[in-house]
Assembly symmetry: C2
Homo-oligomer: 408 residues x 2
């Protein structure tokens, strides 16, 4: 399964060189949850005092591990903590058995790692509706606990992959009061979805000092401008999880530091765009920027309507600057727009101004832009100051191949 897909043409040239983060260690194992011949469980151990923040899918059918993580956020941070993630099985739509598996795993991690059970966070990603063989995980915990390594984050990024065609990581260093704090993050996701909705998982680690509530606020706010602004196919996972852990080991408080917030935004946007770059079948990374909306929320509604439109996405796959389909997507979104005020550009080529084709528009110029790997679509609605930017990929035969033929 993993490894059988061709690497995305939009993949970065290599996995970045991620430094250790003081207070965080990793281990991985090939537990055979579903895959064979590859690692499929990762355990991250976090030093005492680590604050953990989380952002999760809004799906009403969200998986048992997500519900468990949500319930555990915000407790006392004095004790050490752990994050355990398996790939291959999402433990979603598994009824009462699903919660039983989460409990079994959390109890086992707690015992093996000497961490309170309310400080154990788990995620599962992979096929849904099948019972999770959690004993394959719990019987490996001693090994995972004994092989912890502060530099094993790339291995962790590999262990959480499902239909991903490349491991995803990012890194920022922030100088605060003359000292460096580190932020590193890993992600999995091949669009909003992966095999059978297994979907996006993100883990971010820093040695900066944060109160949990301040970290939660920051992660939620930036997620809204990054992970919540990407779409591959408009489908929403039962398992989406972003967890951020601040160990505080550097002794440097970053709670109100704008440079830290900016660096974290850069890192989260980088990981979000890596997920889009690994979108199933993707050959183009598309940035949709909407300006001139009545407010930011309306701008976002229009931007997502464009980014989710199968007609817009197939036109991009065909390298066709088909701006008519952009007008259609704006019209269907239901949010306020005035046909006769809309302006549209591909890159720096203005196609239409105020509801009518630009008289100087030469289709060959726009068509040349469409051959690039990165496509920029800008829409001005001419009504106000609201703006939004979202990222998506094109819709290609590759998407059909992966999703029509995957399980059968």
């Amino acid at each position: 399964m993993a490894g059988t897909l061709t690497k995305s043409p939009l993949a970065p040239a290599f996995f970045p060189d991620l430094p250790p983060v003081d207070g965080v260690m990793f281990a991985t194992v090939a537990a055979g949850v579903r895959y064979s011949g590859r690692t499929d469980v990762m355990l991250a151990k976090l030093a005492a005092g680590t604050s953990i923040a989380g952002v999760f899918t809004k799906s009403t059918t969200r998986a048992a591990p997500v519900l468990d993580c949500q319930a555990k956020l915000g407790g006392d941070t004095a004790a050490p903590a752990a994050i355990l993630v398996n790939s291959g099985n999402a433990n979603a739509f598994t009824g009462k058995n699903g919660q039983a598996s989460v409990t079994a795993i959390c109890d086992a991690v707690s015992s093996a790692c000497d961490v309170p059970v309310n400080r154990v966070f788990t995620s599962s990603t992979g096929v849904i509706g099948e019972p999770l063989a959690h004993e394959r995980i719990t019987e490996n915990l001693a090994v995972l606990n004994d092989s912890q390594d502060a530099s094993a984050i790339e291995a962790a990024a590999q262990a959480i992959m499902t239909t991903d065609t490349f491991a995803k990581g990012a890194h920022q260093t922030v100088q605060i009061d003359g000292k460096n704090v580190q932020i590193v993050g890993i992600a999995k996701g091949s669009g909003m979805i992966a095999p059978d909705m297994a979907t996006m998982l993100v883990y971010i680690f820093t040695d900066a000092v944060f109160e949990q509530s301040a970290l939660q606020f920051l992660v939620a706010e930036i997620s809204d401008r990054t992970f919540n602004c990407i779409t591959v196919d408009s489908d929403t996972s039962t398992s989406d999880t972003v967890l951020m852990a601040a160990t505080g080991a550097s002794g440097i408080d970053a709670a109100d530091n704008q440079n830290f917030a900016d660096a974290l935004h850069t890192l989260m946007l980088d990981l979000a765009q890596q997920v889009v770059r690994d979108g199933e079948g993707a050959t183009k990374l598309v940035e949709v920027c909407v300006t001139g909306a009545v407010d930011d929320k309306i701008a976002r509604t229009h931007a997502l309507a464009i980014a989710n439109s199968p007609l817009v996405k197939t036109a991009i796959a065909g390298e066709d600057p088909n701006w008519g389909r952009i007008v259609m997507a704006i019209g269907k979104s239901g949010a306020p727009a005035d046909r006769d005020l809309i302006s549209i550009s591909f890159g720096d080529v203005n196609v239409a101004t105020k509801g009518w084709v630009n008289p100087d528009y030469v289709e060959a110029n726009a068509a040349a832009l469409m051959k690039k790997q990165k496509i920029d679509i800008t829409v001005d609605l001419g009504m106000g100051d609201g703006t939004a930017t979202v990222w998506t990929c094109d819709l290609t035969h590759g998407y059909i191949e992966i999703n029509a033929d995957y399980r059968s």
Copy 2:
């Protein structure tokens, strides 16, 4: 363009034999609006006293002919009327020129056919953003007026096609007080969209007697259960139009006749399903029935979330009974659902009951059902009495081929 696509495997065996409707005549012409070697304009003339009702796209970027039709509904019905439709150019996103073209066509029809201008209804379907060469239409009006024929409705159905792979028609006869009234209808549409969003148009004719307001109420109400319950790709056209004309020539009042309403529902559902059967790239007709929702509106939200999900539609293309993706779609819709109350069936094969796989489920049984051309998905939410049924098709390589490669 037309004629280059392979006929849908879901097409009916033949175009139905449609009887003349007293008070309605048709003519078509090859005006060369954009296509060559085929008819592309149809004119229907309607006897004095004809009531006309309409239902239109809710797009905020709807085309000039749609706005013009909407403004003209509900006026005095004493004079004769006319409906003129061209294919090849949608006259959408054409700014002030768009309205000027509509005015030019309506004025010309009014003169050539001796019909008041406020009784001339027009539709345009095809490429958008290009000026409509309306003189190619107006210069053919004398020919169209001179060649009217009560039996030319199949030719009319052909003239309004764009990427349709077959002409669409349906017929019902209703006995009222021992006498027959006729209802005939034609449609175009290859999903909600056709080349460059040109999309669904429907024209229905009856010789029954109706006040305009009663006809409008009936058409709007039934459209909500038929044309508004189909989706090919979630994209919404700028031009969707349903017009129904009741000539009254039979002298039989059908305003409060339940048999007439039932027959009209059957006819409209037939045409709606023909549009789905001609969905771009479709190989399966899919009926999604949601029961047990808190109310009908919530049932519809879930049904459309399932029917619009690219993951559900690609699984159906792959003949994979992937019920996990149905759970995902329910979860993402945002409407009330309880994971542990959901039951799912493919045809008569129950896959999951109350949030967990049916212990008697045998995947081979569901997989066998998925090989049929008609797929029935039933979801019971276990929460109330709300129900909804919608129709869609699968998402295949054919959709990508048509839409990624169409214009370029």
